[in-house]
C-alpha cells in the first residue's frame, strides 16, 4: 500500500500537531532528533511531494520502539502503531532493513525455522515435568530455549521460567502439549517489516496446533500472546483455539489459595511490559499474583500501567546507547520506589534490564514473575 493509502487507513492526517506523542516518547527524550509527530509529518509531506521512496529509506522509521505510549495518549486517536508497522513493511520491500542486534542471531534462528530444519528444543520440558504430544492445552514456549543459550552469561534462565510454568500447570492437573515443531510466533518479523516471513511462521504454528487437537493455547510471553491474539486473526481469520496468557490463567487460581504459598519477605516493584500492558490490556493479573504472595510488598513506580515506560529495545534491533539510557532511567525509577527487586513479566524486558544492570553499579535484582511465583510455591 502506498504511504497515501496508509495515511488514509490509519487516520494519520487527523494529527493535531499537539506534541503529546513526542512528549510521551521514551526515545524522544534521549534522541532529540526523533519525534513520532515529526516522522509522520515528513512521511505525509513525502507522499504529497511524490518522494515516497526517498522517505522510506530513512533510518528513523526504525528508531520507534512501537511501545504505544504515544498511541495511548493521542487526542486524535491516530493509529500510529499500525502506521509505523505498515511503513516498515514498505521500507523492507525496497531493501531498507533495521540494524539487527547481536549480529542478527535471533533473526537468523527464526529464518532457519522456515528452512525445514528439525528442531530439538523440548528436553527441558521432559526434565521439568509432564508433557504430551496431543491434548487440550498447548503450552507455547516461544523463543525461551534459544534465548537461554544466547544470553546464558546474563544468568536470567529463560528455560527456568519455562520449567516453572510447566510445573505449575502440572500442579493444576494440566499436562500440556509441548512440541519441537513449534516456530517463533513471528512478532519480531511482523514489526521489522518482514511480513512474508511472519506469515510463513504463523501458518506453521496454526497448522501444528490444529494437528495436535489443542483448543487452548497458553502463553508465558506477552509478545507471543499479543501476536496470536491480535495479529494472527488479521491475516488468517478467526482462530479455532483460545488464546490465554499464563498470568491471567493463574491469577484467579492463585487467589483461591489453590497453592500453599510460602512467604517471600521483600519489597518489589513491577514493570508493565508494553505488549502485556498497553497493547494487551493485562495490568491487574500480575499484580494480583504479587499481592497473593505473603510478605511481598509492592511499591508502584510512578509511571505504571498505561504510563509504563518501554524497556528500551524492541525486536532485537537498534540496540544502542540510547537504549541503555532508557533502561537506566527506568531502573533508577524502580530503585527510587525503595524496592530491592524489579519484577518483570516479559522474557525480553528481563534480559534488557539485566544487561543494562550488568554494566552499572546500581544494586537491583531483576526477577521474572514466573520465577518469583515458583519460589513462593516451593516448586
Amino acid at each position: 500500500m502506498s504511504i497515501q493509502g496508509l495515511i488514509k487507513k490509519t487516520r494519520v492526517s487527523l494529527c493535531q500537531d499537539c506534541g503529546i506523542c513526542t512528549g510521551s516518547c521514551p526515545v524522544s527524550r534521549v534522541l532529540p532528533s526523533f519525534s513520532p509527530r515529526q516522522m509522520i509529518g515528513r512521511l505525509i509531506l513525502s507522499a504529497d511531494l511524490d518522494m515516497e521512496e526517498e522517505s522510506l529509506r530513512e533510518e528513523d522509521i526504525w528508531s520507534c520502539l512501537t511501545c504505544a505510549r504515544c498511541l495511548e495518549r493521542c487526542p486524535s486517536k491516530v493509529e500510529y502503531l499500525e502506521f509505523v508497522r505498515a511503513v516498515r513493511e514498505e521500507a523492507f520491500r525496497i531493501g531498507n532493513k533495521t540494524r539487527y542486534a547481536h549480529d542478527g542471531i535471533t533473526q537468523t534462528l527464526v529464518q532457519m525455522q522456515t528452512a525445514g530444519m528439525p528442531q530439538s528444543k523440548t528436553a527441558w520440558a521432559r526434565e521439568a515435568g509432564r508433557i504430551q504430544d496431543e491434548g487440550e492445552y498447548f503450552l507455547f514456549v516461544g523463543c525461551l530455549p534459544y534465548l537461554d543459550v544466547v544470553f546464558r552469561e546474563l544468568g536470567v534462565s529463560p528455560l527456568g521460567s519455562a520449567g516453572s510454568m510447566l510445573k505449575i500447570l502440572n500442579r493444576l492437573g494440566i499436562d500440556p502439549v509441548v512440541r519441537n515443531e513449534e516456530r517463533c510466533c513471528g512478532h519480531d518479523m511482523l514489526w521489522n517489516g518482514n511480513v512474508d516471513l511472519f506469515k510463513e511462521l504463523a501458518a506453521f504454528n496454526i497448522e501444528l496446533i490444529k494437528r495436535c487437537g489443542c483448543k487452548k493455547v497458553i502463553f508465558g510471553c506477552p509478545e507471543g500472546y499479543l501476536t496470536f491474539k491480535t495479529y494472527y486473526p488479521l491475516y488468517f481469520g478467526e482462530l479455532d483455539f483460545e488464546i490465554i496468557h499464563f498470568y491471567d490463567f493463574i491469577s484467579d487460581k492463585i487467589t483461591n489459595n489453590a497453592f500453599n504459598l510460602s512467604p517471600v519477605e521483600s519489597t518489589v516493584t513491577y514493570h508493565d511490559p508494553c505488549r502485556l500492558g498497553r497493547m494487551a490490556g493485562i495490568y491487574e493479573a500480575p499484580r494480583k499474583i504479587i499481592a497473593s504472595i505473603p510478605g511481598m510488598k509492592l511499591k508502584e513506580m510512578e509511571r505504571n500501567r498505561e504510563s509504563s515506560v518501554c524497556c528500551g529495545v524492541s525486536c532485537w534491533a537498534n540496540c544502542s546507547s540510547y537504549s541503555k539510557q532508557i533502561q537506566m532511567d527506568r531502573i533508577k525509577e524502580a530503585k527510587a520506589t525503595g524496592a530491592d527487586t524489579l519484577i518483570t513479566a516479559c522474557p525480553k524486558c528481563n534480559i534488557h534490564f539485566t544487561c543494562a544492570l550488568s554494566s552499572s553499579d546500581i544494586e537491583m535484582e531483576v526477577k521474572d514473575l514466573t520465577h518469583v511465583m515458583a519460589s513462593a510455591m516451593n516448586i
Binding site: 499537539c18 513526542t22 512528549g23 510521551s24 527524550r29 519525534s35 487526542p75 486524535s76 510512578e302
Partner: protein, 484 residues
C-alpha cells in the same frame, strides 16, 4: 394559558434572561437547584479581558433579580415534570427543605459560627470548609442559610440543635418539608450552564494524586479574596501541611495535658506518655521544616486542553480556556512580585474582541511564557514538586520543567442532570450532551416554547452567554405574547 416564563438555571445567562423579561413586564420564575443563584461566574475571581472583579459586576444583578417586582426566585428547587405545550406548560417543581424560614432568617451567621459539623465547601471546590448550616457564598442570593441534612447531626439522629438555640430570629425549623407544587407558564428557558470536566480520568496528568495539580476553578478560588485562603496564593500541599501542623499542635496540647495529669496523680509510669509527646514534637518539627522548604508559590504552569479537543474524552474545544489561563496568569502577578507563569497550549485561541491584544499584553507586560506543546504527562520530582513533560514544538525538543503549581484548563461539559431534564422536557441533545439548536435559530430547542441560552447550549464566555440570554428572553416573550 399563561403569560409567565420559567427560567431554569440561576447563572449569569439565566439571570440576564430573567431581567430582560421582567423589565418588559413579564412575570418570570427563576429556578436554581443550588441554595443560591450566581452559578460559575460567582466562583470566578476576575473576568477576561477586562480583569473586572467577577462578583462585583455580578452582585448588582443578583440583587436586582431578587428585588424586581416581576421576578420570583425559586432557589434550592428542581424540575420534576413538565406537561403541556407552548403557551400552556404545567411544570411540577420540588422546592427542597432548607429547614430555615426564609422570611425570618437575617443571615447573621451566628448559627454557622457554633455549628460543630465541619465539611468540605463545594463553592470553594473543596479547598475550604463550611458547616452543616451554611450560606452557599457570602454574597449569595437569597441571603439566607441552609441546613445540609446529609451531614447535620440532628438528621443523623444525634444530639445537637445548637443553631436553633442560638438563632435570635427563631428561623430554624427541623420539621420543614420539601414542597411540591405546580407552575403554569407559557415558555421555558433552559440556562443550566455547564460542569467542569473531572481531570482525574486522565491518569497521566496526576490530578487527584499530585496535590499541587489543580483545576482552573480551584485556582480562581485560591486567588479570590473571599476564597479559602483569603486571596493568599498557596499551594494545596502547603494547605495540607498547615492543616497537619494544626492537628499535630492540637494533639500535642492533649498529650501535654495528659502527661501533666499523670504526673499530678502520680499514677504509674509516665514513660508511655513522654514517648508519645516526644514523637509528636518530632513530627511537628518535621512538618514545620517541610513547610519552610516549600516556600512561596513562584512558578505556575497552565495546561491547556485538558480533556478537550481529545477524542478520548471530549472532542469539542472549551472556547474560553486559552483566555482564562492568560487572565489567571496576569492576575496571579498581583499576588506575588516573583510569580511567573508559563502556558502550555495547542493553539492560542484568542478569537474575540480585544482577546489577541490581551494575550499579547500577557506576554509583553506580565512576562507570561508561552510554550506551544500539549502537555504529555505530569510527574513528581524527588522533592514532590510537580513536573511537566512536553514537546516544545518551536524548539523541537522534549522538555522537563518543574513548577510550584500546575493549573489545568479543563473541558467544558454539560451540566449534571441535563440528560434527565432533556427527557422530562422533550428537547434534543447534541452528540456532546448539550442542548441542540438549529444554527439558523440559535436559541430555539427542538421542543416548541422551550428556549436555551448560555453554556447549556455549548461552551461560551460571559459576553456570549449574556447576549444569548437576551435573545432567548426575546423569543420567550414572543411566545407568551402569542406571537412568533
Amino acid at each position: 394559558m399563561s403569560k409567565d416564563v420559567l427560567v431554569i438555571g440561576g447563572g449569569i445567562a439565566g439571570i440576564q434572561a430573567c431581567l430582560d423579561l421582567a423589565d418588559q413586564g413579564i412575570t418570570v420564575y427563576l429556578l436554581e437547584r443550588l441554595p443560591s443563584i450566581g452559578g460559575k461566574m460567582a466562583q470566578l475571581d476576575k473576568t477576561f479581558p477586562t480583569n473586572d472583579c467577577s462578583i462585583c459586576i455580578m452582585g448588582p444583578k443578583l440583587f436586582e433579580v431578587e428585588r424586581h417586582p416581576n421576578t420570583h426566585l425559586l432557589t434550592y428547587s428542581e424540575v420534576e415534570a413538565v406537561d403541556g405545550e407552548a403557551g400552556n406548560f404545567m411544570v411540577k417543581i420540588k422546592k427542597k427543605a432548607r429547614y430555615i424560614d426564609e422570611d425570618k432568617c437575617t443571615a447573621c451567621g451566628l448559627c454557622a459560627e457554633k455549628c460543630p459539623v465541619i465539611v468540605p465547601d463545594q463553592f470553594n471546590m473543596g479547598l475550604g470548609t463550611r458547616r452543616a448550616i451554611y450560606k452557599y457564598f457570602p454574597q449569595g442570593i437569597p441571603s439566607v442559610y441552609t441546613i445540609d441534612d446529609s451531614v447535620c447531626r440532628v438528621f443523623q439522629g444525634k444530639k445537637c440543635k445548637i443553631c436553633a438555640k442560638i438563632c435570635e430570629a427563631e428561623a430554624i425549623d427541623y420539621e420543614q418539608k420539601d414542597i411540591v407544587f405546580e407552575l403554569n407558564v407559557g415558555a421555558i428557558i433552559v440556562a443550566t450552564g455547564f460542569e467542569v470536566f473531572d481531570p482525574s480520568d486522565i491518569k497521566s496528568y496526576g490530578y487527584g494524586t499530585i496535590a499541587d495539580v489543580i483545576t482552573a476553578l480551584e485556582f480562581e478560588r485560591l486567588l479570590n479574596a473571599s476564597g479559602p485562603t483569603r486571596g493568599h496564593l498557596e499551594r494545596p500541599s502547603s494547605l495540607n501541611i498547615k492543616a497537619e501542623i494544626k492537628q499535630t499542635e492540637k494533639k500535642i496540647k492533649k498529650a501535654k495535658a495528659r502527661l501533666k495529669s499523670l504526673e499530678k496523680k502520680n499514677q504509674g509510669s509516665t514513660d508511655e506518655a513522654r514517648k508519645t509527646l516526644a514523637a509528636l514534637d518530632e513530627r511537628l518539627s518535621g512538618l514545620k521544616a517541610k513547610e519552610a522548604a516549600l516556600g512561596d508559590v513562584k512558578d505556575i504552569a497552565f495546561v491547556q486542553c485538558v480533556g478537550s479537543r481529545d477524542l478520548r474524552y471530549n472532542a469539542h474545544c472549551c472556547s474560553y480556556g486559552c483566555m482564562h489561563s492568560v487572565k489567571e496568569a496576569i492576575v496571579s502577578t498581583e499576588h506575588g512580585s516573583e510569580i511567573r507563569s508559563t502556558i502550555f497550549f495547542t493553539d492560542m485561541r484568542a478569537y474575540g474582541k480585544e482577546f489577541h491584544e490581551y494575550f499579547l499584553r500577557g506576554g509583553a507586560e506580565y512576562g507570561i511564557q508561552f510554550v506551544r506543546g500539549r502537555v504529555a504527562e505530569i510527574n513528581q520530582d524527588d522533592h514532590g514538586r510537580p513536573v511537566i513533560w512536553c514537546e516544545d514544538m518551536d524548539a523541537r525538543k522534549v522538555k522537563k520543567l518543574p513548577f510550584d503549581l500546575i493549573v489545568l484548563a479543563t473541558a467544558c461539559v454539560p451540566s449534571k442532570g441535563i440528560e434527565k431534564l432533556a427527557n422530562i422536557m422533550g428537547f434534543d441533545s447534541d452528540q456532546s450532551g448539550f442542548v441542540k439548536t438549529d444554527p439558523n435559530k440559535p436559541t430555539t430547542t427542538s421542543a416548541k416554547g422551550i428556549f436555551v441560552c448560555g453554556c447549556a447550549n455549548g461552551p461560551m464566555d460571559i459576553p456570549s452567554s449574556v447576549s444569548m440570554a437576551s435573545a432567548a428572553a426575546s423569543m420567550a416573550a414572543q411566545t407568551v405574547k402569542g406571537l412568533g
